[in-house]
Symmetry: D3
Subunit: 341 residues, 6 copies
């Protein structure tokens, strides 16, 4: 039995045209299920932990399918509550070359967005748990979801559970003002923060001067500044920032840096020909949590997390279906992609 | 140019597993778009009319795809309003033999359900129109949709447009009480009513004593009683009732009867090995409206409508993609299904 | 090495929507290749003969694919000539229940329709051959194809090869008058004729009085009359007539009768739930030729042929991919469809 | 938490051409996983039990996929052992009408066939368990598998666990002689036996005189005789026999009878238009075990089991993905297949 | 209502193997419809014009499907004439890396190739129109098509409609001599010419000395020379030349230049990882016409056209399904392909 | 009729998830058939030879399908023996970017691995043959397969047939020690050896000092050393070594060098964006054998072989479906991938 880890958030039905078709061309959609915290749960289950995903799912066959999908890929579903009206949906059009991928959200009124405090027994959930992970998406879903998230982090701390948060600002869900207010409250309970420059700027107004995200140029100086500011402001034990260089929808550079209050660490960088980049950040979080729980040194932890999430970009769907061995092989430098017989 | 016909209601994204899979088995969904009044519009476009479908669609690619789908199959989309939050969705699991088909609706908050009176300029829409068709689903969507429907039928009458209504009671959308109140108001403007025994009972409390729908046995006497009551109550020019005998999810009997206040007409009955029965009733409505506008006699009109809707059961999706010639060939007795070379 | 059999005609690219979709719904077509005489060739290859199919195919990748398709299913392609402009195409919409299957031909100008006498060396082709089979479609393709067919049957007779012909009248290809003139010439060289009532009527004006094909009622008397007339007129050694009762596009009755100038034979009748009925008649011809070459008695031969072609109706595509054992199992009465483990 | 149930046996990779294609036509295979005892496990998980499936799976991605498939559909995999060389495979060609389905087994040398006694800790497995189910396939896999099965039933009895066995004779796996010897030993520990007439005859030489399975005619008298003999011989508490009438590969009659040593019970009979009949018997076993554990009366238990397995015939794959509510609805007589909205 | 634009030519059924399969591997073809002028029409419809496509389509379901395809993507089909024998077909094998894409045309005898002068009422068609676009493919189809094209451009000029022509030389359709003679006649009525170096050389013998198209090296000097010659010869208001650098079937450079008789303009260049390059030139034409009608300056017009056609390379099928906003975003420099949420 | 060439070995069923899915995500597998020597046979058939493939296939439908697959692509199957238990299988997960492709073999106990000396009549097989090709995989299958291979090469030499061998070391099948012993025996009869550095090292202990395969850096010096050693040791007339530079699973460099005992030849190098790299080495062997039989000079032969195998990387499946013309076009420098119309 692995260590017990809790992730909490929204899992959605994901619908995508295949073969680079646009939405208006599709007469079928590929079906999968995903969401930030569920994706992290799958990574952690693959890495050998008892990963429990907590959410609320509608009591209908679409909710069943989401639950089965989690179960299929090894996530524990014991604490999932059933009820509410619907499963959130996101439509995902996969881009290519100069055409960006496009996401259409249809998640309002989902079971988890309308869940209530009394739906979850956090003391039971956190019993014997090691780690709790959530993202900035969950409190953004609704006022009740924000309240729930606050309750969760408080209970986590009461139960001596480490807390990590992927800042993940979603402009369609809330305003910077609202995000700032709520996230500031939540950060009090967070040990480790993950994010990208945009998150820090949009949520906390922490902005590096020179960087330009759209143009794909990232300033290392800028990121160091952001990391320092975050730790100063919220007293995190660690801040990790993923660095995506978007050359096009098909090809990205991918690396990360971390700051523990004393040192800055920079990871290996991969140039990736992309199959599916959704869940890349979640795979990074999964790899980082795995490494930290296993007491790896920060540079190695960062490299493991980046290697894990590099592999995610080659796998269809939100989930990162890779083993520790596969990640280690890449981390150690086997980038050749030779056939394994 | 054909005569101008207006239908008004909600079109939804329809998602179905293929090959008789259950929802929880599917890793892709067949995608199509459909809804009662849109389906009738397609029939009428195929039969040569200028069929305009009126609705509100979200201004996103999923709304675009629904609009394109209508356009593809010949429906005029000039009066469709864009805006609102989402397109309604229905998940459709296609049953077989003793396993019933299963529909999961996810339509709350759709653009049309939240549309407002000022979204539509009915005088422009009804200018030079011959016919207006709606179903009992539209006013059930929301209070504003009910208000909109009432406005529409009033304007139709002011513009001297014939009005037909398929009663179509949906228990997931409203209670019998609410349905009764609203539909009673609307019926004042309706010339021709279509439905089945269950509709009349659920909405208006008109109930034939002996019939038992679930057991698949239908009493002709019962239907005559229902039709008479409807005409007495609402002064319709015609009531048409479809008679489905559900032997199983795979095989149905299908026929109809009509009453014009003087005579009862009974159609040919078909035993159908089903490909997709959704939209069967709408195909009937389309066939009936076509026949009535073209001044066919009632028995022939009824037989045309039943033949048209019989063919619908053999076509995947909600839309009845058949020509007048194909329907006429079946109506005249060519049931052999011989290859047409 | 099996006995050498020659069939000659046109093979076409066949394009079909899947899952009972109509042409206008399809965004992909299932691809296969078929044509009367090629289909017979596949049956005979499966039954152990050296079945050579003779035709002309364009020297492009579509022609290659047709050739490969024949080769894949065991037909010898040594005598196939390459050249000409195009491969004929037929679009096939598979019907269901009361909706008939629909074929759209696009075969004008095909390589075989424009082939010339000098393209084929019939003496080489018929060297050591046992049997030659063609259908009434081949001479209907074009004047040159008719000339070619006449040359072929003459050469077959000169080389002492038995000749069978499936009458197969195609109204899209020629008029009854033209068919009558050409087929009458060809029949002089034919030993065994296969067909259905319609063929005899359309081509030779031989018409049974009472039967009504469209209504699916077949008069045994009528068929006896037709068979007799054919033998009297053309001195065939055997006439075999397939009897299709089309209850619907999904369900057919299937049997056959034969007349050898002295006795009438009637086969077992099967009620078939249809997967793909194209090539049913060709599978019958294949089964009959197999049985006759192997010296089976007529009743058994007829039953084998009907059993073989019954199985064809359960297999997608034009080709009948069944073994002698599988046909024999059905012929002997094993109709239960029990799983064979 | 539901009651704990154990099933034990072999799960295989199942590969099937789609759309009624023959093996030689397929350029893709539908992939699923199934096997008698795993199938029963899925039924029981769906009905609310803690169903543990015990087997040995190779430690490779194909083994992972089988495990994930079980987990996806709710089966507990905690006792599954990893190791060995390969996962057994069965190729399944789905028949239609007069063409039988065809199974090609490729299961020799599978991990479970070569598993050893020490691979499983039966005392741990049976701790707090209510029921143990296996089939006659498991001991037939190999001598070591037979030994393992014997060990399992002994341990089950020692742990006071009810034991059911589906006789399931597989002629490809062992001879009647070998089956007789081994199964006779195993029956000593069995409380409830399930099977069909053929099983009893092939394994135990118990043969009803008049029946003729291939012809699809089943003699009730014959079955009563078989049931009586079985109980007399092995002192079972219950014998249940499924009665399949194979009209064709597409249409079957399906019912069952049971004998508890005093009374005979006969179930409702369903005429089923088949989607996938594999796993029908296992679904029956699942339904029966559910009913017996819940203390239902025998007639009702039998009807529930037959209704459950009737529904299985409408679902692709080996697993019966139905809820208690769905089975109950059918058992209570709702055979109409009406759309459930 | 947008401005009225007319395009005229041939639309074909396009059949392609999926997933980089060769023709001989395919057992299904992806189905779409396309052709130079239809493709331009779709671009213009997407950009908000009333784009009417003029052609003749066979009166069969394949013709219906082509018409529906146009309608689906917003093209007006009011002036499409029905009749003739067949829809032209092109088979498209999509290459990868060093393997070129391969097109097999099967278009002889198409409805439009055999259309007659009296099929079209050009005065009605051009009434209130702004722009007429055709390509060098249309007059190459047949003598009657050439005559029709000449009639069309004459009528366009009489109706004061701007005329653009994409030279598009097709060596399979006519000889350079024939092309020269006909195109020279047509150019008299053309305001704006589009093409590539090869077109100018093959049709008009205008040849830059140093360039080598196959080797993928393009000389800017050469293109300037060609553009100048064209304007001198035919007095065009504008000549635009697309510059494709084919590094491989998977990766191309893409840019364009234009000359208005005074200045030369060079566009941004994109390196594109290709999904489907068919229709790239047509998308360029669509973007250019849009920009010119909207009075954009030439450099911006050229960049818009190149950005639009860059996006086309990322979309399956012939049609460029992009909005003005999407093109503008790329033109303004957002090449990062970041997910749009 | 082309020259007669024999290849001998194992063909397997290949099962692959589509669209870069991992095994555990797949609910269907693409089906094809391949194996080193069969792949070479297909190349040679495409290049115009009479290529006979010799193996043993199980007498079941899976064996039929493998045989049909060979026949489809032009390979002669006259000498294929039927019998044995099963067809070997390999599961192939296609990697992307940094994720390597993964092969799971399930080939133990295959018909060919258990074939016996008396199954094949080598004198008949080699009658009039020009060339015999096998790989190091065949003797590795089993002791009896090794014995068979030895018999084959001896008989080849007795019949004056040239022998080529692709060393192809497979570590899952045998140890270096066993390989060394057996391959050393076989090499006595081999004229031409093909391989890569790893093969020579693993089988014969011939190791270049500096090279590092995993890191994708290849030392030309090292390869020269290996080639020299091989020729010194075994007196080959030619050694050819393929040089794969694995930048990632998606992009490879591909070239080759050869040594004839006097001179070293180095081929053109291609950078390939990969569709399917399996069978690349076999396509190289096919191209080389074609060139040598046709008496091409070594540099040209090598370039033809590399161009042929470069194209293989762009085609799904194991088989290289290209013509001599297509290879020649690439060899001559047309790398542009321009559409061929």
């Amino acid at each position: 039995m692995g260590k017990k880890i809790i992730t909490f958030g929204e899992i959605m039905l994901r619908l995508s045209p295949s073969s680079f078709k646009r939405f208006i061309q599709a007469d079928s959609f590929d079906v999968t299920y995903g969401g930030g915290e569920a994706n992290v749960g799958v990574s952690l289950a693959n890495f050998g932990f008892d990963a429990y995903y907590v959410t609320k799912l509608p009591n209908n066959p679409i909710g069943d399918a989401a639950l089965n999908h989690l179960r299929r890929f090894g996530v524990k579903t014991d604490y999932i509550v059933r009820g509410g009206d619907r499963l959130g949906i996101y439509f995902m059009e996969i881009g290519a070359a100069q055409r960006p991928s496009k996401v259409v959200y249809d998640r309002a009124g989902s079971a988890i967005a309308e869940a209530k405090l009394e739906d979850f027994d956090w003391d039971m959930i956190f019993k014997d748990a090691e780690w709790f992970h959530f993202t900035g998406i969950t409190p953004a879903l609704s006022d009740s979801a924000a309240e729930l998230t606050l309750e969760a982090v408080k209970k986590a701390k009461q139960n001596d559970v480490k807390v990590s948060c992927d800042l993940n600002y979603r402009k369609k869900l809330w305003s910077p003002e609202k995000a700032n207010k709520m996230m500031t409250q939540l950060m009090e309970y967070v040990d480790i923060a993950l994010g990208n420059e945009e998150d820090a700027e949009k949520i906390f107004g922490i902005k590096a001067s020179e960087s330009d995200v759209t143009a794909g140029k990232l300033s290392e100086e800028g990121y160091r500044f952001v990391a320092k500011e975050l730790i100063e402001k919220f007293n995190f034990k660690l801040v990790a920032i993923t660095l995506r260089e978007s050359y096009s929808a098909s090809d990205n550079g991918w690396s990360a840096m971390a700051y523990d209050g004393r040192n800055f660490y920079t990871s290996t960088k991969y140039k990736i020909h992309i199959v599916d980049r959704v869940g890349g950040g979640d795979a990074f979080a999964g790899g980082l949590i795995y490494s930290l729980i296993n007491g790896k040194r920060l540079k190695e932890a960062l490299d493991f997390a980046v290697a894990a999430s590099c592999l995610k970009h080659t796998i269809p769907g939100d989930f990162n279906m890779v083993s520790v061995d596969e990640v280690e092989s890449l981390r150690r430098g086997n980038v050749s992609g030779r056939v394994q017989r």
